[in-house]
């Protein structure tokens, strides 16, 4: 089915978008939220389970203190107020992947409330207000077998893996974000990007969207421009990459505009995002949604974190990404745009480590954004996945700086490093890549070039100094690039022009 869509720019002429994001982060705790089972990703199905996370009759939950601590730290990093008293609640519904027939979550008494996160898009700052940060447990995973698509539709049976059931999950809910206009899709993406970096900086989760340890539901609505009202929203579920976050908002804006233009009504519903086409399709309608019958979980005691403990956690927070970027910009003397490039390329940490290993900020940036970015791009991998460490990159810049190699030789040295031949200095030695000084070898190469091209020598001596380049090239060729071009030029000038 093809949807009618309105061109994006045209949407903005008639409508104002409002977005909201619900982000789920799987915490990187050793054990599950309410039992001692391991949380390691990728184990054989149903091997990381026990009576508690399988919801066997009689079993009882015990809250994981490390998960509570991580949630509070996330809340603090987002400027939230930590509730002095909060409770878990049961969210009741039937589905094969929730073993107890309810999910243990938090409802009207969340652990953290009223925070915010400032994000930057094209030099403009947007404040995203955080309504709440709460703690809950993940569900199991359904595997639909026998159909063509792996979806439940068309499958002939389904299997459930409970390894994921009970892994601690933090849900971060924003307030509606209005006023971003055409930037709404990018603001959504920038928010999730920034949130991911914060959680990463806290060490609270590995936040891998492709493994589902960070999942995003994106709410989008449109209101007639200037109306001051809000439209009916849709909730696009499980948008699993940063790019998809932006695409999902963009698509929903264009789709909803078409519906509204045609005099239609937006149905409040959940929608599924399709990675391949960038489109969304209707899921279950909220208007016929389940009544979750939330009530306080009687099997758990309330959480009442000590004020002193919270203060301690706040004091021990690491430097957060925004502060770090500001500091490094200052230290390295970068413009905002230059910093944005670094961040977008995923090179900030790598450059920082390279500088820490002795490189100048300029050299480190040049390598990571230049040669290394090219290599990563060619290989189709993230920068951080290249088989070269920041320390090795720093060594490369040192070799260039001390004149042992030139840029071209340094790139050959990098080839060796990436091929697993060892550190740059070892590769230079093993491959014999060092620049030649005024060695006998170079002298004879220069003399040979002069002797081999009397016509060129005559031209140069006749005043056509630029013809010297041909001689330089010949020497470089003869030495297979190991000579330093400036040295060669000086030697040639001495001999040909006698100066």
């Amino acid at each position: 089915m093809t949807e009618t869509l309105v061109e994006f720019d045209e949407v903005l002429t008639r409508y104002e978008p409002v977005i909201g994001l619900e982000t789920h982060v799987e915490l990187g705790t050793e054990s599950k939220m309410f039992c001692g089972c391991s949380t390691t990703f990728g184990a054989e199905p149903n091997t990381q389970t026990c009576p508690v996370c399988l919801g066997l009759p009689g079993s009882l939950p015990v809250a994981n203190a490390a998960a509570v601590e991580s949630t509070i730290r996330i809340g603090l990093a987002l400027g939230c107020r930590i509730a002095p008293w909060s409770r878990f609640a049961r969210k009741n519904y039937f589905y094969p992947d929730i073993p107890k027939g309810f999910q243990t979550s938090q409802y009207d008494e969340p652990l953290c409330v009223d925070g915010h996160l400032d994000v930057e898009v094209d030099g403009e700052t947007y404040r995203v207000e955080i309504e709440r940060v709460h703690l809950e447990e993940d569900t199991g995973k359904n595997l639909h077998v026998g159909g063509a698509t792996g979806r439940i539709h068309g499958a002939d049976h389904s299997l459930v893996d409970f390894n994921r059931a009970g892994i601690p999950l933090v849900e971060i809910v924003t307030r509606p974000v209005a006023g971003a206009g055409a930037k709404a899709p990018e603001v959504a993406r920038a928010y999730v990007t920034e949130l991911r970096e914060i959680v990463q900086a806290l060490g609270a989760s590995d936040v891998r969207m492709e493994q589902g340890s960070l999942r995003c539901d994106v709410n989008t609505s449109l209101a007639p421009a200037g109306s001051g009202t809000w439209g009916t929203r849709t909730e696009t579920k499980n948008v699993n990459s940063l790019r998809s976050v932006e695409r999902a908002v963009r698509f929903e804006m264009r789709r909803q505009a078409a519906v509204l233009d045609a005099g239609g009504r937006i149905v409040q519903e959940t929608r599924h995002f399709h990675e391949d086409t960038g489109s969304t399709s209707s899921g279950r309608s909220k208007e016929e949604a389940t009544d979750y019958r939330y009530f306080p979980e009687p099997d758990l005691v309330p959480l009442a974190p000590d004020a002193e403990w919270i203060e301690k956690l706040a004091a021990a927070l690491p430097e957060l990404p925004a502060a770090r970027r500001a500091r490094l910009r200052e230290e390295w003397g970068l413009s905002a745009t230059e910093m944005a490039w670094l961040v977008n390329a995923g090179a900030l940490g790598l450059v920082e480590e390279t500088v820490a290993a002795g490189a100048t900020p300029a050299d480190a940036r040049k390598w990571w954004l230049g040669e290394l970015a090219r290599r990563a791009n060619d290989a189709g991998v993230e920068l951080s996945a290249l088989a070269v460490t920041p320390r090795q990159v720093a060594e490369l810049t040192a070799l260039v700086a001390e004149g042992t190699v030139n840029d071209q030789l340094a790139r050959q040295a990098l080839d060796g490093v990436l091929a697993g031949e060892g550190d740059p200095r070892a590769v230079v030695e093993a491959r014999g890549l060092a620049v030649l000084g005024e060695s006998d070898e170079l002298v004879s190469a220069v003399d040979a070039a002069i002797a081999g091209a009397p016509d060129v020598v005559a031209k140069v001596q006749g005043g056509k100094v630029q013809a010297l380049g041909a001689l330089v090239g010949a020497v470089m060729k003869a030495t297979r690039g190991k000579a330093d071009a400036a040295t060669v030029r000086r030697m040639l000038e001495e001999r040909v022009l006698g100066s």
């Binding site: 066997l56 009759p57 009689g58 009882l60 009741n92 107890k100 027939g101 019958r293 009530f295 009687p298």
Partner: protein, 502 residues
């Protein structure tokens, strides 16, 4: 040596310690009696004689029999999960399930060297006051086999009263230990909420469920209580405090001296103006028990707890609400029966069919009631309101115990049940009449305070129980007062049952 099944746990302990008998002999004696009597009584859902004898032999060989409860048989209500041993909670939906783990209390009893005789019958998921809601069998009261044994721990009460076990574990959500104990002439104690682990106890209503002992004497009950009590890190609601000195209190109380003890008689539970539904015989026996307390030196006064009258409606909103959620996990996907999985039905249909056929009518009634009470738009009016009543009832208890101007009381007393055991079938079609059986036991449940039922005589040839309630973690007071009443009345009531049978 007389029939080993007539001995109390304390007497068995002495005989085992003196080498006059062995755990195997004691266990065999009980198994023989079960074989002879249980066909008619229906106390047990599962008995594995070979396993019990093997366990008894193990204890005998270890040389520990006679120390503590080692070597003494016990029966467990089928609500406790027992590894490898069928556990049904009285429900069809769990038929055939053999749990992969054991309840903390079951493990503690095993570690104490007790011998599990079997699993006892109960109202399905502990919902009921007569054990007639069991999906499997009716249990009969040994005092009159045409009458109910109380519930929901009716299998345990019949087992102990009928001498098919010296001791049994029950659970009490709104009176399910105390009421059957009262109706069969036993001692039954509901400990302070949180003082006995709920891990492995199949939940009915999480904020109310408590496991506790049922025995023929106060001291026996105290010994069993001590063996199961204490903090359990697997239960978040478990209190990290030492087990009250209940055995010592039972011994002390048996001396019969209650001088200086302040006893409050709850007006709202069978007192002036609150006698509707109470049988005269019960009120007479209760008055007699109060007189005994006074004779033992207690200072008795009437105390008003105005909110107790609201306990019944509050309980029948809170317990079903929690149950509707607790019982959601029974959907045929991971354990128990599965109905309708013929390849043509989707998962929702299979879940619905499993629950339709797996649950009995009372369980369905309470799930529907609880689902309704928690629904959007009704939550505040029902569940929320019931929680407020619960707070008020707790306040009534604190006022009574802490006193104020008039000074408080140490314990509160009332009849345990407004009536004696009724004929089987008499109330099955009248749920409200059935619910009224819990009138006296519900306040202590809602407040989480300890309460014991101790026999205080017969009415029309059937046992009547006295309920003694104490402040949280003062379980020892219940035992002390109960032991004094027991001492004043002479031999355990159930001995008279034996005499009558002889």
């Amino acid at each position: 040596m007389s029939d080993l099944t007539t001995l109390t746990a304390v007497e068995l302990q002495a005989a085992l310690a003196a080498g006059e008998t062995t755990s195997v002999e004691v266990t065999r004696a009980h198994l023989d009696r079960i074989a002879a009597e249980d066909g008619a009584l229906g106390a047990y859902l599962h008995v594995d004689g070979d396993a019990a004898l093997a366990r008894a032999a193990e204890v005998d060989a270890s040389g520990t029999a006679g120390t503590g409860l080692a070597g003494i048989p016990v029966a467990l209500k089928d609500v406790f999960v027992t590894e490898g041993v069928p556990t049904t909670s009285g429900s069809r939906i769990l038929e055939g399930w053999r749990p992969p783990y054991s309840a903390t209390v079951a493990t503690r009893l095993r570690d104490a060297g007790t011998v599990m005789l079997g699993k006892t019958n109960m109202d399905e998921f502990a919902m009921g006051s007569s054990t007639e809601n069991s999906a499997y069998t009716a249990t009969r009261n040994p005092w009159d086999r045409d009458r109910i044994p109380g519930g929901s721990s009716g299998g345990s009460s019949t087992a102990v009263a009928g001498h098919l076990a010296p001791l049994a574990l029950g659970t009490d959500t709104g009176g399910s230990i105390r009421q059957p104990a009262a109706l069969t002439g036993l001692v039954g104690h509901k400990p302070t909420y949180g003082s006995v682990s709920r891990y492995g106890l199949i939940a009915f209503s999480s904020s109310l469920d408590q496991a506790g002992p049922m025995a023929r004497t106060v001291l026996d009950a105290a010994l069993l209580h001590e063996a199961i009590g204490g903090h359990d890190p697997r239960d978040s609601t478990s209190i990290d405090a030492p087990v009250p000195a209940v055995v010592e209190a039972a011994r002390r109380g048996a001396g019969g001296d209650l001088a200086g003890l302040r006893v409050g008689v709850v007006r709202e539970l069978g007192g002036e103006g609150a006698r509707e539904g109470y049988e005269q015989g019960v009120l007479d026996r209760f008055a007699g028990a109060v007189a005994l307390l006074e004779a033992a030196g207690a200072e008795v006064r009437e105390v008003s707890c105005p909110s107790f009258g609201l306990a019944l409606p509050a309980y029948y909103l809170i317990a079903p609400s929690e149950a509707s959620s607790n019982l959601a996990r029974f959907e045929g996907m991971r354990f128990g029966i599965r109905v309708g999985d013929d390849g043509g039905r989707d998962v929702d249909e299979v879940m619905a069919l499993t629950r339709e056929q797996g649950f009995g009518p009372e369980v369905k009634r309470r799930i529907i009631l609880g689902t309704y009470a928690l629904s959007a738009g009704y939550y505040d009016a029902y569940y929320g309101q019931a929680q407020k009543v619960r707070t008020l009832i707790g306040r009534d208890f604190s006022t009574a115990f802490d006193g104020g101007a008039s000074g408080g009381v140490d314990v509160l007393v009332s009849p345990t049940s407004p009536t004696v055991a009724w004929p089987i079938g008499a109330r099955v079609h009248d749920p409200l009449a059935m619910y009224a059986a819990d009138l006296c036991t519900l306040p202590a449940s809602l407040a989480g305070v300890p309460a014991i039922s101790v026999p205080c005589g017969l009415s029309e040839g059937l046992p009547v129980g006295l309920q003694v309630m104490a402040p949280a973690l003062a379980d020892d007071r219940c035992y002390r007062v109960a032991a004094a009443v027991e001492a004043a009345l002479g031999a355990p009531l159930t001995d008279r049952l034996l005499e009558r049978a002889a």
